[in-house]
């Protein structure tokens, strides 16, 4: 099963939920963690995987053969991303703008454009105890996260539980991470920011048609408006984690709640059982 942990607002505790859920379940079942927050991946800081292999993620970008190019400019005309420009009868390419669509090579009447791989990031995979781990990292200065996210997601296994740590926000990188999930957990905090961004995230998962529920982190540091909203919208709140300076200190050091406070294990196992129940309920409803 593919479960994505997302949030509109950053810093609400996505990685906390992913890592603790993975650790709490790893003894019972096969668990895979895919960190798709490829701009700022953090799950490895808490799970300490031993990385066994690293693979480059590339985009096919244009390479112009100047002996064939006649400077007609058709390539820059068709490029929707301003990745090619013609100046003084010569084509200049801007690989950092390119989306790798192949339009320029297709459009070039001289056959002067071939595509060559351009590195935009890496996918690293390894093992964190019993947890199968992988994350993506875009190279610094690269704007385009979704291709790296898709590369990480291609590693998703069929059996057991695959947990995806999504980037914050509600735009294209988040959609790339959340798409095709069986379930989405939205992590929020009980502040006006948390509520505002939760509403955006709810809009996004509803648009994608993915069943979802909410986790409220630092639940004692704010007000009750998030819970009221969830009640009104009939969104299940599956877990609340209170603010505690000790938990904050655990997180600060790169440790997990279930390691230092094993009392929390049943809560995360319960969270998983609730997710399973909601997913099978939905499958039954769809079957009828």
């Amino acid at each position: 099963m593919l479960v994505t942990v997302a949030s509109g607002k950053g810093g609400t505790g996505k990685t906390t939920i992913v890592t603790n859920l993975a650790l709490a379940l790893a003894k019972k079942m096969p668990v895979q963690v895919l960190d798709c927050d490829v701009e700022e991946p953090n799950a490895h800081l808490f799970l300490h995987p031993v990385f066994q292999e690293e693979e480059e993620v590339t985009l096919p970008v244009p390479e112009v053969d100047n002996t064939k190019c006649n400077g007609c400019g058709k390539c820059s005309e068709v490029c929707a991303f301003h990745a090619l420009a013609v100046a003084g009868g010569k084509v200049m390419t801007f690989p950092e703008m390119c989306h790798g669509c192949g339009g320029c090579a297709f459009a070039c009447p001289q056959g002067a454009i071939t595509e060559k791989p351009y590195r935009i990031g890496v996918v690293a995979r390894g093992q964190a105890g019993r947890i199968d781990f992988a994350h993506g990292r875009i190279d610094v200065g690269v704007p385009l996260a979704p291709p790296v996210i898709r590369a990480v997601k291609r590693l998703a296994r069929k059996e057991g539980l695959t947990l995806i740590d999504a980037p914050p926000g509600t735009s294209c990188p988040v959609v790339a991470a959340v798409k095709d999930s069986d379930f989405c957990l939205l992590v929020t905090e009980p502040t006006p920011f948390g509520l505002n961004d939760l509403k955006l995230a709810v809009g996004m998962v509803r648009e994608l048609g993915i069943p979802f529920a909410v986790v409220i982190n630092r639940s004692t540091l704010g007000d009750l408006r998030v819970e009221r909203y969830c009640r009104q919208e009939r969104i299940p709140v599956l877990l609340k984690i209170p603010f505690d300076k000790r938990y904050a200190a655990t997180y600060a050091r790169g440790k997990c709640l279930v390691e230092e406070y094993p009392d929390w294990v049943p809560a995360f196992v319960g969270l998983w059982q609730e997710i399973e129940r909601l997913v099978s309920q939905r499958a039954r409803a769809a079957g009828n």
């Binding site: 927050d37 701009e39 800081l45 929707a80 914050p168 735009s171 920011f193 505002n196 955006l200 790169g254």
Partner: protein
């Protein structure tokens, strides 16, 4: 005119609370919220919206079912998996959608607007249509004019919308003869961050004393270096993990980064947030005082950079 951008790499370190607290201290400024896919600054500044403007992002492919010959060429050439073949609606197999028993559709969430399908369609059945991807606003707040935006749900082109917000903020600042633009930036290091960062006077990176905060600080500092933007660092809630704070300070010292401020954990911050007021407009507490001291230090640093 100078531009101060507040970013963080990691989300949730306190960018928006700090940007709003600075907004309440600064004079002669225009405010901008470049976190266009989860904008929050308006929640603290209580804007009165003066103009609502449409934002068109990339174009999206649209297939004219009447002209489509179901050859499937578009699906073959699309590298984004945005063209899907769907079963026809029962009973309509032979009507609008032709007789081959399937229809080709564009998944607009996956379409990146490259237009390769329109170039290859032998029937000329595909056109690229402009896509309303969000809105941007000019508002008046008790702390000065604010340019903000909201990207539509699940939309792309956040970088382009950020560029629009920055352009409008600059235009307003010139009109009002303002000396400063304070911008609340997005998290991460990708497309919208790059669009927010290029050419600003100073980037204030707000971090927190955690392994994740530090890790993300390093990546965003590298990004700023890549675009030759000077950086100042703010360690928020530094006293929640004093040891981690000291490690981050040591890292900043090694890298030659100025630490503009260290803000203590203070319940007034959460209170200000819940009451939707900038911290420095409602509190005389430890965090508010630390932000004031940081503002003085930032002004000195920006004064040195000049322009």
């Amino acid at each position: 005119m100078q531009e101060l951008l507040v970013i963080s790499g990691k989300g949730g370190t306190g960018k928006t609370s700090i940007a709003a607290a600075l907004a309440a201290l600064a004079e002669d400024k225009v405010l901008a919220d470049c976190d266009v896919d989860a904008a929050d600054l308006h929640l603290l500044l209580r804007p009165e919206v003066e103009s609502v403007n449409e934002f068109y992002g990339s174009h999206k492919a649209v297939i004219d079912a009447g002209r489509c010959t179901k050859c499937g060429r578009c699906m073959e050439v699309c590298r984004f998996g945005a063209i899907t073949k769907a079963a026809p609606v029962a009973g309509e197999e032979n009507s609008t959608y032709g007789s081959r028993g399937s229809i080709f559709q564009v998944d607009s969430l996956s379409c990146e607007g490259c237009g390769v399908c329109t170039l290859t369609c032998p029937a000329g059945a595909i056109t690229m249509k402009p896509n309303l991807a969000g809105y941007w606003y000019i508002s008046e707040t008790p702390y000065g004019p604010l340019v903000h935006a909201q990207l539509g749900l699940a939309e792309d082109n956040s970088g382009k919308l950020v560029t629009k917000v920055r352009q409008e903020a600059r235009r307003l600042a010139e009109e009002n003869k303002a000396r400063l633009i304070i911008t609340d930036g997005p998290p991460g290091i990708g497309c919208p961050v790059i669009s927010s960062l290029t050419g600003v006077t100073l980037a204030l990176v707000v971090t927190e004393p955690t392994v994740a905060g530090w890790h993300d600080l390093e990546r965003v500092v590298k990004l700023a270096g890549h675009f030759k933007v000077p950086v100042a660092v703010c360690i928020n809630k530094y006293d929640l993990a004093p040891e981690k704070s000291r490690e981050i300070e040591a890292y900043c010292y090694e890298q030659g980064l100025t630490i503009a401020g260290k803000i203590p954990f203070d319940a007034d911050v959460a209170r200000a947030l819940v009451n939707a007021v900038p911290l420095t407009a409602c509190s005389q507490g430890a965090a508010a005082n630390a932000v004031k001291a940081m503002w003085d230090s930032l002004m000195v640093q920006m004064g040195r950079i000049g322009k």
